[in-house]
């Protein structure tokens, strides 16, 4: 949990990323996908913030902007770098990104395609060290051994190739590589969604352990709310490029204030046949980010929608200390969360 003396590691303000839609022979611009549209949040040092929401809502695009894998259309991404100064990752020229990249690393979803099959574990894990000219060969060997031990793999494995490893072990290799340069921020995009149930638990536990041990900060992208509950301090729910609700994990799950969050929570199948819920089945599909509905983007699927929702776009407001909601009716509705 964020303490009184928390250090703000990342502060994202008004982030936007629009992609052009090109049509026809001349590839003329025919519109824009508003993939991320005015997103603001912060992440304190040592905490985990999760971004959740349906496919296409802009989670990965947000994460890729923060890593400057893509350049945002607008907004600020303020990152406190190791030596103190706060830099705006969004506007930094490419030449000055390199030292920052060491401090932010990514864990990928697919442990099968993200590791080069022709390179040994040593090559893979030491790759960031080599790319940044860190250490002698022997120092790298020692560092890789240490990293493998840290993620629960035997150092002897470093001469082997990734194909000999299971999905869970490959994800451990990916984590070891991400940790090689002692990053302060780890961005994990669906780190366990390609893994088997029993292996998911092992990787989530590893992430918790490493966070405690190394003081890591996580920005987690996930669509599985059960996974999110196990590792997050706070959660931001996204819908069509915008954050619609953001608060600490416990509150989001037990007392959601946005109808979309309520529907998401209710859709999660509960592993208990006695709880066969009267689920809220959200009809229809996610709105098109190139052509969103008027007013509140969620209104065509919202069971609480009133006339105002069709006309006025709600703003993200702090309805209780630390609880941000973007809904005209946030203060009057009593919504259903999940019990303990």
């Amino acid at each position: 949990m964020s303490l009184g003396t928390s250090v703000r590691l990342l502060d994202v303000k008004g982030l936007q990323k629009f992609f052009p839609i090109r049509k026809g022979f001349l590839k003329r611009e025919a519109g824009q996908v508003r993939a991320v549209d005015d997103v603001s949040f912060h992440v304190d040092k040592g905490e985990t913030l999760s971004l959740v929401g349906e496919s296409g809502c802009g989670k990965t695009t947000t994460a890729r902007c923060i890593l400057r894998a893509i350049t945002p259309t607008a907004g600020q991404i303020l990152f406190r770098s190791e030596d103190g100064p706060v830099v705006d990752v969004a506007s930094l020229p490419k030449s000055r990104l390199r030292p920052l990249r060491r401090q932010m690393q990514m864990i990928f979803q697919d442990p099968f395609s993200s590791l080069n099959p022709r390179r040994t574990l040593f090559d893979i894990v030491a790759e960031p060290l080599a790319a940044n000219d860190v250490g002698t060969r022997q120092e790298r060997v020692n560092r890789v051994a240490e990293l493998l031990r840290l993620v629960g793999l035997r150092p002897e494995y470093m001469r082997r190739y990734p194909h000999a490893f299971s999905g869970g072990q490959r994800q451990r290799i990916g984590i070891a590589r991400a940790l090689a340069l002692n990053p302060s921020l780890i961005v994990a995009d669906e780190p366990v969604s390609a893994l088997d149930v029993s292996v998911q638990a092992q990787i989530l536990n590893l992430m918790l352990k490493l966070q405690a041990q190394l003081g890591l900060t996580y920005l987690l992208v996930a669509h599985d709310l059960s996974v999110v509950k196990h590792v997050s301090d706070r959660v931001a729910v996204m819908y069509v490029g915008k954050i619609v609700e953001m608060t600490d994990t416990q509150r989001l799950f037990t007392a959601p204030k946005h109808p979309y969050t309520e529907a998401l929570l209710s859709a999660v199948p509960k592993p208990d046949p006695r709880l066969r819920a009267q689920r809220i089945v959200l009809e229809g599909e996610v709105a098109d980010a190139a052509n969103p509905p008027s007013g509140c983007y969620f209104h065509p699927r919202c069971r609480y929608a009133v006339d105002a929702c069709r006309q006025e776009t709600p703003r993200l407001e702090e309805v209780q200390p630390g609880h941000f909601v973007s809904c005209h009716r946030a203060r009057e509705l009593t919504l259903r969360g999940v019990g303990q």
Binding site: Q169, A201, S226, S232, K270, P271, P273, E285
Partner: protein, 339 residues
């Protein structure tokens, strides 16, 4: 209860092995279970435990170098006036006329990844019509009308337009609906759904599960639901089969499996799943070790190297069989049946 009914499908000691050059993979190694009419049977287990191969064996679409090496798959058909006939699917040639009738006609199949089951060069409509005409003597026109009706039934909006689209033009949820429409086009009594919602968002998953439930009520279908998502099993199934390394280690009514699991593997699996009811930021109990490589099957009980209740000298010597333990529940473990 299901017990006083006759199963519509019985799998008996099924063995399906693969024979690649490197050795033998016993993908399914003596699996037995019964499927009762109008019920949903869930098959669960970690990946590689043989769930999909079991499904493919029932439909006789196991690919080379795999084949059924033993056991029986008994399909019972109603021939009116309460009397039924029984056929053993393992006795047919996979390419025989009977098997082709059974695939799609008696038993429909939907997969995890609808993208791979639709051809990219034909419209979804053409493919559904083709399936219909494979089983029913109808004109192109009638087939098309039926296909539109099916797409409508599974909740594809504007089916008369969507029918001329290609799979890649549809969202994941619509694609999955189109595949269900194709699987149901010839009115199968049994639907096998292999990880039907694994690639989908929770909201789309809820829509598809709802759809399956409604179709079951309306059409009186029997469903085999294969998934590693225990939440989906808890919400959908009447009976549950738990598999480990090609064998059924436990089976029983859904409530017993979730509230009184007997096999150490079932217990461990249930403990290890991330739950939405969990306390925030807590470690999950995990299952020790990992699934053995298929070439290195442990001797004795296949779960013994990972089992917290392992009894040396017993569990590593002989293999437990599946026997009754409690009402309607079967378990394969020496804790319940002395060696």
């Amino acid at each position: 209860m299901a017990e006083n009914q006759t199963p519509i499908l019985s799998v008996r000691d099924l063995k399906t092995y693969f024979f690649p050059d490197e050795g033998t993979v016993k993908a399914v190694d003596g699996a037995s279970f019964d499927l009762y009419p109008r019920k949903t049977l869930g098959i669960v287990g970690e990946s590689g435990c043989g769930k999909s191969v079991t499904a493919r064996s029932i439909l006789r679409i196991v690919e080379r170098p795999g084949r059924i090496v033993g056991g029986a798959i008994l399909l019972r058909r109603d021939s009116g006036n309460g009397r039924g006939t029984e056929v053993d699917l393992t006795q047919f040639d996979p390419e025989s006329r009977e098997m082709r009738q059974i695939r799609g006609g008696d038993i429909g199949l939907i997969f995890q990844e609808p993208m791979t089951s639709f051809s990219p060069v034909h419209t979804i409509g053409n493919q559904i019509v083709e399936t219909i005409r494979l089983h029913q003597d109808v004109s192109e026109q009638q087939g098309r009308r039926k296909a539109i009706e099916m797409l409508h039934l599974v909740g594809v909006p504007k089916p008369e337009r969507r029918i001329d689209e290609y799979a890649f033009q549809l969202s994941g949820g619509l694609r999955q609906r189109a595949m269900i429409a194709m699987a149901l086009a010839c009115g199968p009594r049994i639907l096998i759904a292999d990880e039907p919602t694994t690639a989908l968002d929770v909201t789309t998953q809820a829509q598809i599960l709802d759809l399956l439930r409604h179709l079951q009520e309306r059409e009186g279908m029997t469903i085999i639901l294969i998934t590693h998502n225990l939440g989906v099993v808890a919400e959908m199934c009447d009976q549950v089969v738990v598999m480990y390394l090609g064998r059924v280690v436990e089976q029983g009514p859904v409530d017993a499996i979730f509230h009184a699991p007997k096999h150490p593997y079932t217990q461990a699996l249930l403990r290890s799943i991330p739950s939405i009811h969990a306390t925030v930021r807590t470690e999950l109990p995990t299952i020790a070790g990992s699934i053995p490589h298929p070439y290195n099957r442990p001797t004795g009980c296949p779960f013994h190297p990972r089992c917290p209740d392992f009894m040396p000298g017993t569990c590593d010597r002989s293999e437990p069989g599946l026997h009754p333990a409690g009402e309607n529940q079967d378990v394969s473990c020496f804790l319940y049946h002395p060696a």
